[in-house]
Symmetry: C2
Subunit: 362 residues, 2 copies
């Protein structure tokens, strides 16, 4: 069964597209998210609103700015709907995960030194490092406060679930930063399973807890909650790999990120790690050796160097290996979703999102 | 009744000193705190241990390093004991507030650009800004996780209490940072009530939640929990004022902070704000005007300039006004402690701590 055939159609016979699903969830969560951000101190509130694409620096409305897709809030809403509740049941979870996501973008951009995100200066670049750290802290505290105040009997378990995913998220970011000082080849090189674990923690934990929180707050059985969490973790690994592929071969006009940014910073991404693991003598082995030489060189990679590295990584099979790995994790997501009873229509929406995420801009 | 007469004596007839009380609480909480820090990723764990004075950069033991006093964990332990429970009942709260305190030191030092703390380089100075932000985030997540996992029926209320104090803490830090760009005099100047609110949020909220969490986890009635929270908030304001006074007139060899650091950075502290509010014509009015001229000048304050500013602030009555305000808040703490039934011995310990904190190095 392919995802496409499983998508139920709307009453008018047209299945909602992924942007439709995301938009519906954003509308459902929007007022609660805006109300939460308004509870912040005005200064972190402005930085949060800027980061969410709601305003410019200074607080003026930003009609042209693009916020995030709102993937995490959508997963929380669909998690609630998939276990037979209205999407509103997952609302506190949706707000909490969007706040955590925004916090993590603010702090990650500080740690990674990234200067642009979604075609605008990052928060630390626009407001300063200290203020960006402060705004992230404020969002973190607000996320916990929001979930701890959620009505119903499931609040405490929800806070435990979010706290565990926060710990994983920080752990993944720590590993990602430490990968930078590891060698490209040899016994100290980053192994693919280390990369997967990093991606699961850094990206998957929050996606997993988003879907799981929606179901949990809606009163789903423990097994369903755990399965949605696992599904989100696989999705996170796939998502991260697709991001890495886009970071090397994506069109900067579409991704909004600088061309070959990850290669120029010598970031240890799966496509490159996979390319380098192609053995001597195999097809692509020569390209792998050349790629390693380029990355291990003392010189910073300029535009041409990064382009050559991207070509070599593709020639050495890194792109196709990474995409195959992403497809394996997407298959695992689908397997998770089939292993527990879920309502057909939100399940269809979830599958639509998965297809969209894997195929976006590739 | 003075605090001194209210301190009960030990079985051997000698009342414990404040260092005795702090040491006893540190021993009681120590193993749980160490176990929590060990659950962190090794990298943030080392930075946390460094910040706590447990190790040097690189992880080697630091027998000579001084950690914090452990005031917050002591308040949580005494909060539990004061409502008739063993101190262990407050342990999860004690660990959580120490972790939050460590998180806030790490991030505040980044935001304030402070390079030394307790005579050692600050974490961002020793490990880098990004890693310090990461370690703070890890501690924050661990604090929430620890409290969310606390056994007993009071975990959810405890998490709500901690989350509210986290929000206040960030709010106070935001105001403190924003004070820097406010004028020294005129309608835009920082008013004393704004300063008090900032100090209550930045310093008092966590001290309040420390004592309140101990009592809450031990099953105390709501009114007792709220009263201990209020007591801690008053203590925080007093504590912050004493810190400010020490930052201007304290002996750097004792405080471990650079001489006149706050003055040289033109930080808006209560002693200076109080000095500047002395009206023209009143005793000290001339000194106030001279002080304002010095602080409003374009030149950075060098050692002599800062010393002159300190002398003028004292002459204008800033030091005595600040200390009088601190004493008012300490009196409010004592009034809180007398308004609810508390066990005599831990109450005595609490009062011993208060005396110690107010009179330390002054």
């Amino acid at each position: 069964m392919t995802a496409a055939t499983a998508v139920p159609v709307e009453a008018d016979g047209v299945a909602p597209t992924a942007p439709d699903v995301l938009e519906r969830c954003r509308r459902l969560v929007g007022p609660a998210l805006a109300a939460a951000v308004e509870r912040l101190h005005p200064w972190p509130a402005e930085m949060a609103a800027y980061s969410l694409g709601w305003c410019e620096v200074g607080g003026a409305p930003a009609p042209g700015a693009t916020g995030g897709k709102g993937l995490r809030q959508a997963l929380a809403v669909l998690g609630a709907e998939a276990v037979g509740a209205p999407g509103e049941a997952g609302s506190a979870g949706a707000v909490a995960v969007e706040l955590v996501h925004t916090f993590s973008l603010l702090h990650d951009d500080v740690m990674d030194g990234d200067t642009t995100r979604r075609r605008r200066p990052t928060v630390w670049k626009a407001y300063g490092t200290g203020p960006a750290v402060l705004a992230g802290d404020a969002l973190f505290a607000l996320a916990v406060e929001t979930l701890a105040a959620a009505p119903g009997a499931h609040g405490p378990a929800a806070v435990r679930l979010l706290a565990a995913s926060l710990t994983d998220l920080v752990r993944g970011q720590a590993d990602d930063l430490l990968f930078e000082s590891r060698p490209w080849r040899g016994p100290g090189a980053v192994r693919p399973d280390e990369y997967r674990m990093m991606a699961e923690h850094k990206t998957g934990a929050l996606l997993g807890s988003a879907a799981a929180l929606g179901a949990l707050l809606a009163g789903a059985p423990e097994e369903t909650v755990a399965t949605l969490d696992r599904a989100g973790r696989h999705l996170g690994v796939a998502f991260q790999i697709v991001d890495d592929v886009l970071g090397i071969w994506g069109d900067p006009r579409v991704t909004g990120k600088p061309a070959h940014g990850d290669l120029r910073r010598r970031k240890k991404t799966l496509p490159v790690l996979a390319a380098l693991s192609t053995p001597e003598g195999a097809a692509g082995g020569l390209a792998a050796r050349r790629l390693a030489g380029l990355l291990e060189g003392a010189d910073a990679l300029d535009h041409d160097g990064a382009r050559r590295a991207a070509d070599l990584a593709e020639e050495a099979g890194g792109r196709s290996a990474a995409l195959a790995e992403a497809h394996r994790h997407i298959a695992a997501v689908h397997a998770c979703l089939e292993s527990v009873p879920l309502a057909p229509r939100p399940l269809g929406d979830l599958r639509t999102l998965l297809d969209f995420l894997l195929h976006r801009r590739l």
